[in-house]
Amino acid sequence: MKEANPRKVTLATVWLDGCSGCHMSFLDMDERLVELAQHVELVYSPIVDVKHPPTGTDVGLIEGAVSNEEDAAKARMMRGACGFLISLGDCAVTGNVPSMRNVFELGTVYDRAFRETADLQPQTPGQNVPPLLPKVLPVHEVVPVDLHLPGCPPPADAIYEVLTELIAGRTPDPLRLSRFGR
């Protein structure tokens, strides 16, 4: 692993129960990513081949809701590693689409996904797959979150503004460029 430049802000991003759209929106910052890279070191992310965010990471972005035990463990890992934690997008902030299963009992959800719609060997997975939580939760119901950036996905402009404001040492207004459902 490359040593993080101490002069740069270290950033970790993680993808829980979401569609990756928030990470796509992150990449939609396009040429501004080059500019950001002068101030930011990406130390942990689905696009960085590192297994854990380093302790003392400055900023963490969480995409996706907390739907299973692995999501919850990753959320806790991010909280432990990152000084400033951001819920990125509606799934992380509200539960959004993943939480639509919350009106059903967990057994019904498993049966629908792994038995009723399976053609071969319908069975509820007992190992190698993280167990689902009874209810899908927004990230802040699992670990404390410092900033919520709603949007489905949050526009690239909103992500850029939040990051650059943080780098400049100011508190961003996450609702200036985004809202629920955007």
Partner: protein
Amino acid sequence: MARQKVPPTQALTLTINGEAVTAKPGQTIMDVASEAGVTIPHLCYLDGLSIWGACRLCVVELEGQSRLFSACSTEVAEGMAVQTETPRLRHYRKVIVEMLFAERNHICSVCVSNGHCELQSMAHQLGVDHVHLPYRHPDLSVDSSHERFRLDHNRCILCTRCVRVCGEIEGAFTKGMAGRGIEAMIINDLSEPWGESDTCTSCGKCVHVCPTGALVEKGSAAAEMEKRSAFLPYLTVMREEDSNHS
């Protein structure tokens, strides 16, 4: 011939956020604030319908009173000092909107009213960036039995605008409320499928006064349902004029 008595013109003087305004007796704080260009947040209130006073978003502070008053249902009085934007009011309004989001299943991203929803824009306006309360995720039904319209209880905030417009403007009295408290639901007739209603005229007024995606026109996809409720005050005034002439 006796001189006809002219009733004296009465004017009340009060202040809204420190600005002096005049009002006629019988006007509500909401009316007077609106005339003075002061917008007080509201969801159940709609110009042209009767006052319901249920959503509590329009609460204001009155000098010398410790409790809060809903602007839509409180009449102005001489010397009243109204505050519409204080930290205490902003806090309560945010909590109210958060409770509405937590109470039923509001998933903005997949809603036909995304981008045209009064609950969504109210949350944005009040700075609600997340909901502190745990979501309830109740199991609620969707009534698609009507030929043209849909009633989705997941997205209903129980403002009763649909009930009022149906009775007061259309005169059909199809929409009503059943149940109490958190069990309360909008119903058609005696809780029948909307499509089987004998009283519904299919006028669509309920759809267009609904602030959220609870009442929508069928065939609209995510973010496509735009409501048009601007007709209401005109209709109300026209009917008043009509009844004055007849």
